[in-house]
Amino acid sequence: MKPLYLAFIVLTLALLGFSTYQALVVAPTEQTMGDVQRIFYYHVPSAWVAGVCFFVNFLASAYYLWKKSLDADALAAASAEVGVVFCTIVLITGPIWARPVWGIWWTWDARLTTTLVLWLIYVSYLVLRRFAAGSQTQTLAAALAIFGFVDVPIVYMSIRWFRTQHPSPVMGGGENSGLDPVMLHAFLWNLLAFTCIGICLIVARYRLQRMENRVEAAHANLALEGGAR
């Protein structure tokens, strides 16, 4: 493990500890919902990291289609997998937050439904990469990633375009939106910490993908050498 990466992991862990303290202790209790509102401090950052991962996946897939770069393909695979992990967290913590606040676990409103569709698109992407055989797999996966990314802005805009059960944007949502400064401070620390976790995981997964590519290439070479003898 490279020292720079190790230092980044240590920094991320320190940030995670500090941001958790900010979310659970320093941030004031919200008046209407009470303590359960603190789920916000990792539900929203998880959604942010998932969105960023899918954006990286989109860029890497487009680059792969353009240059046929295996490194870009490895980055696309890594970012999609990490994105699915964070999107899973969003889809589980959301209903846990909804139950005491809305009285229901789930409703088919625009934000929830488009997020579930997003998760299904990227799970399909991973299944395609895992089980499809042949030289076209990476190209097909890249094409799916580019079309799949269309859902990301729809998820983001869904609470602006439609009247939904899901609350309107807390920040940047018009005159009555906004956060208490202490809450905003705690939220930004969590956003930073989760972004760092996302970067750590993408880097680890990217390296793993490159190692797997090397193994695959070595197996192919051995098979060719065996066939030539």
């Binding site: 009470g34 789920i39 992990v85 913590t93 846990i96 937050w97 139950r99 976790i197 995981l201 193994v215």
Partner: protein
């Protein structure tokens, strides 16, 4: 479900999912590394 129980449950889920994924990556990394070593030995 009370608020504090929901908060603890959501927090636990977040940690479990992240640690589970790290565990999965470590396992996969070990497999690939041993496979690479085997390939180098067989050359």
């Amino acid at each position: 479900m009370s608020g504090i129980v929901a908060l603890k449950a959501a927090y636990t889920v977040t940690i479990v999912v992240q640690l589970g994924y790290i565990w999965y990556l470590v396992g996969r990394y070990r497999r690939v590394r041993s496979e690479l070593k085997d390939l180098e030995r067989s050359k």
